[in-house]
């Protein structure tokens, strides 16, 4: 009324909120000098005490990377990256431990509380010495016992290189070879650590595997590498990331995730990504260039990607499925939120190779502020993939009138018995919807949270229960602004 806000005044105010957690550098480092050359790679490999074959792989990848060009096709803009100005190895030593939660930034605690993170977890995340150490150790021990009982391997990638070299040799690079793309080559050359997970034949992993529970999970570094192998008839649900704010001073993140599913195996991979997106003016923030790919190698295997992306200044990420086995299924469910100056170019690739293969892509983009949100997807059905089906749905929701939403679908069908469907919509949160909520007593911020969560429901429903509740809160918080 009299406050004279323009039509988009409120939306603008609400969506121009800032990521509320600045940077802290409280980790002592054991560092390599800046830059990248073969010596640095030898340094990394020797620091990790790796076998020769691993060093050889790293060097091969590096030599290949040197011949490659940085990809420029994504709908994102950023200043050129000086790859010689990056420190490629920094072993995290111990975090400076705080005595109690009282020493932690109250705003950070406030966020933890809003997200409903338990007190114990808050302490771990904030780097507080957990007084109930015994508790947390025992949780981990119980966890490890359960996995051991089923012969499930779940450890850091470095440990796997030492303890399960035969498995790493057999599967590493099978889904994402280092020749795949620029960042995949870079990652293979310099990867710091990550996770390895192996589910034996006919085992249903009884718990959701989360990096949070993995010993040494606290510091995974900027070039992470994850490998999940699901043997015949096995099942695993894997959670990556966490809704809690992730701070990191490394600007460039280039991770690789590989999944391999054998006959009748099923892998559900869920991600919540909340890296630092940069400030309100677009300064700083993480560049997140990730290659995620799953091979549905066996008959009737299934890989399902679910992601909630709210963080990072730039996201470049296309979780994909190669449907090699007959009757195999690939799924991709995504919610990507961009605010302020964030840029996201994300989507999926579904490559149908086997007969009767099925894939589903549900992508929900939400753009606010001055951000840009692009969906880029490829559906390729090969000649041999008879009777295959794909259904893609890409929806974009715009908040305000200074943001952008873009859709780049690529569809290639090599036979006549397959069916590909693509649907796309673009909508705006209308002033009418907002006013309707407000007239019921719901303030603007809560109303936006409500509307956005309603819009993303189809995807959020695919997340494991606990994760879904946190993700809902995260969506609301991400779009939270200065309106009190």
């Amino acid at each position: 009324m009299k406050d004279g806000k323009g039509k988009n005044g409120v939306l603008e105010e609400v969506t121009s909120g800032e990521y509320k957690y600045g940077f802290v550098t409280d980790i002592e480092m054991d560092m390599a000098p800046k830059g990248l050359n073969e010596d640095i790679i030898r340094f990394i490999s020797s620091k990790k005490n790796e076998p020769d074959w691993m060093l050889e792989l790293r060097l091969k990848a590096f030599r290949h990377w040197q011949k490659m060009k940085e990809p420029k096709w994504a709908h994102v803009k950023y200043p050129p990256i000086d790859f010689q100005d990056i420190i490629y190895y920094a072993a995290p030593k111990k975090k400076k431990q705080l005595e109690s939660l009282n020493e932690v930034d109250p705003e950070l605690l406030d966020t933890f509380n809003k997200l409903g993170i338990s007190l114990e977890e808050q302490k771990m995340l904030a780097g507080v010495a957990v007084d109930a150490v015994i508790d947390s150790v025992s949780v981990k021990t119980t966890f490890q016992d359960t996995l051991a009982k089923h012969d499930i391997i779940f450890c850091s990638f470095s440990e796997a290189v030492q303890n399960h070299p035969e498995l790493i040799k057999q599967y590493m690079g099978k889904a994402v070879p280092y020749t795949d793309n620029y960042y995949a080559a870079l990652n293979t050359a310099v990867f710091s650590d990550g996770s390895f997970c192996y589910i034996p034949k006919d085992v249903r992993c009884p718990i959701e595997l989360s990096t949070y529970f993995r010993i040494n999970a606290a510091n995974t570094g900027q070039f992470e590498r994850t490998l999940i192998v699901a043997e015949e008839g096995s099942y695993v649900s894997y959670l990556e990331g966490c809704t809690a704010p992730q701070r990191d001073e490394n600007q460039l993140h280039a991770a690789i995730v590989e999944i391999i599913a054998m006959d009748d195996a099923e892998v559900k991979y869920s991600t919540v990504q909340n890296w630092y997106p940069g400030d309100k003016n677009g300064k700083g923030g993480i560049y997140n260039f990730v290659t995620k790919r799953g091979l549905c190698k066996g008959r009737s295997s299934k890989i399902s990607w679910t992601q909630v992306e709210t963080g990072s200044a730039i996201t470049w990420k296309y979780p994909s499925c190669f449907l090699m086995g007959d009757n195999s299924i690939g799924e991709f469910y995504s919610v990507a939120v961009t605010n302020n100056y964030q840029q996201a170019d994300t989507g999926s690739k579904m490559v149908h190779i086997g007969k009767n293969t099925k894939s589903t892509i549900i992508s929900k983009g939400i753009s606010a502020g001055k951000s840009n949100n692009s969906y880029r997807g490829l559906v390729r059905i090969s000649k041999k993939a008879a009777n295959s089906r794909n259904f893609s749905q890409c929806d974009s929701l715009l908040l305000g009138d200074q943001c952008g939403a873009h859709t780049f679908p690529y569809i290639k069908t090599g036979n006549e018995t397959s069916i590909v469907e693509h649907e796309a919509t673009t909508s705006k949160i209308s002033e009418d919807q907002l006013f309707y909520c407000r007239q019921r007593g719901i303030n603007t911020e809560k109303a936006i949270g409500l509307i956005v969560n309603g819009y993303a429901k189809e995807v959020l429903n695919k997340l494991p229960m606990e994760f879904a509740v946190e993700a809902q809160k995260l969506l609301a918080i991400t779009l939270e602004g200065s309106v009190g």
Binding site: M1, K2, D3, G4, K5, K7, G9, V10, S430, E431, D432, Q433, F435, Y436, C437, R438, Q439, R440, G441, I442, N443, T444, K446, L450, I451, N453, G454, Y455, A456, K457, E458
Partner: protein
Amino acid sequence: MLLNIKDLHVSINGKEILKGFNLGVNKGEVHAIMGPNGTGKSTLAAAITGREGYEITQGEIEYKGKDIEDLSPDERANEGIFLSFQYPVEIPGVSMTNFMRTAINAQREYRGEESIPAGEFLKKMEEKKNLVDIHSKLTKRSVNEGFSGGEKKKNEIFQMAMLEPMLAILDETDSGLDIDALKVVARGVNALRSDENAFVIITHYQRLLDYIEPDFVHVMWDGRIVKSGGKRLALELEEKGYDWVKELY
């Protein structure tokens, strides 16, 4: 006086719609505001509920003895002002149940009360659904999504019953309703009438007033009230049509 509107002038994009509107409403009263299209009836509802873009250039709206100009739409709602929308909007993916719980808890938070316990909430939902003949499946669906015109209006009255406002404004709630739905809406309103609340019913036709008996009827023309009276006035209008009002002006 619960609502006291004094010499209200309201403009949209510089165009004056309300031109010196006066209205006093006490608790326990039902006021009907009638008039042809384009006389500012819906603008009145928007001004009272604080919709953006409606600029008060003169006069004031007093509610519970205070000028409410500085209160946001949600604050006004939480102070007990409810609007049954002429065109309820759809909110995809948000279930009625979730929406209602969020609204009730917002109201409670505003009053410094605890969130509503799940059991109590569900009991209340059941009770109020019966009042307006809403089926369970409707509350499981997304807010107004795929609702028929009649269902949307019933849903507005259902929300009113849930939120128990002090001042309820019904903006053309009867438009597009068949006689059965109209009766249901009226039954809802009549059940909620008490000495502690008041209703302002904006309508084009007197049809609804056959079922909801108003204490006062006001006729609007060109941004202000040109005639006030009792229930009879509505019947008179029905008989003589609105041209008769124009002559009064």
